[in-house]
Amino acid sequence: MKTKRQIQKEATRKLILDAAYQVYANEGFSATTNQIAKAANVSHGTIFVHFPTVDNLIICLLERFGSEINEHLHLLSEKDESLETFLAAHINVLICYEDFYKRLISEINSLPQEAKYVFINIQSVVSLHLNQVIERDKEQKVVKEIPMHIIFNSWLGLIHYYLTNNYLFAAGSVLTDHKDELILNYIKLIRK
């Protein structure tokens, strides 16, 4: 059993993480802890009771974000899914977190080293699923002879290019607008 105090502590922690997620999505990772405290409606000091440093806050937030994506992707993907279904699932998950994810991929190089490793692990979940689908397609000889990492990086490169240059391609959500086109043509590129 959790004590009342523990429950309270976890609730505040969640409140801060939720606020940080929103503030970083809107303002980017240079947003201050003051802004986050304000959004969470807690005192500035409270943040540091739960997260000793800003880096620690960012890392915890990314870890939570990673496990959400992980679960979400796992629920959407089926055992014998097609390449189309998986790619659509990936884009649909990202659409749910689009503003935050856009900030993350644009600013990842300026984030702490540890955050970069968390970011790699978020992508590992995607590459795990994609790898399963591609291995099956390779057995059926419908995919070109391209190394797995190039298949994966090309997909990520494509959607990241559209995301980071959103303004070139859409007035609103670039993934929503271009989802079908990107999936269809990416598949044409890698299929025999």
Partner: protein, 80 residues
């Protein structure tokens, strides 16, 4: 939903679990042929190889990323 204690994968279907046994705490990918859980070193190496194969990462980067991930998992808490 249960998640694998050794790699963090969510386990929802029977086939996600080691030996298809839903009472197990680890997944089908973390089990050895006899059904027991892979050791720390085995798991670490296989995750590194996998990351390199699927994402093309440089070896030391892959190793650091895998360590960062394993550090979070209940099965390996004592290794860090």
């Amino acid at each position: 939903m249960k998640t694998c204690i050794a790699c963090g994968m969510p386990m929802k279907k029977e086939s996600d679990f080691a030996m298809g046994d839903t009472s197990k705490e680890y997944c089908v990918y973390c089990a050895k042929e006899d059904g027991s859980m892979q050791s720390f070193e085995e798991k670490k190496q296989s995750l590194i190889n996998f990351t390199i194969k699927t994402q093309g990462l440089e070896e030391t980067v892959a190793e650091k990323a895998v360590e960062a991930m394993m550090r979070q998992l209940p099965a390996w808490k004592t290794r860090f």
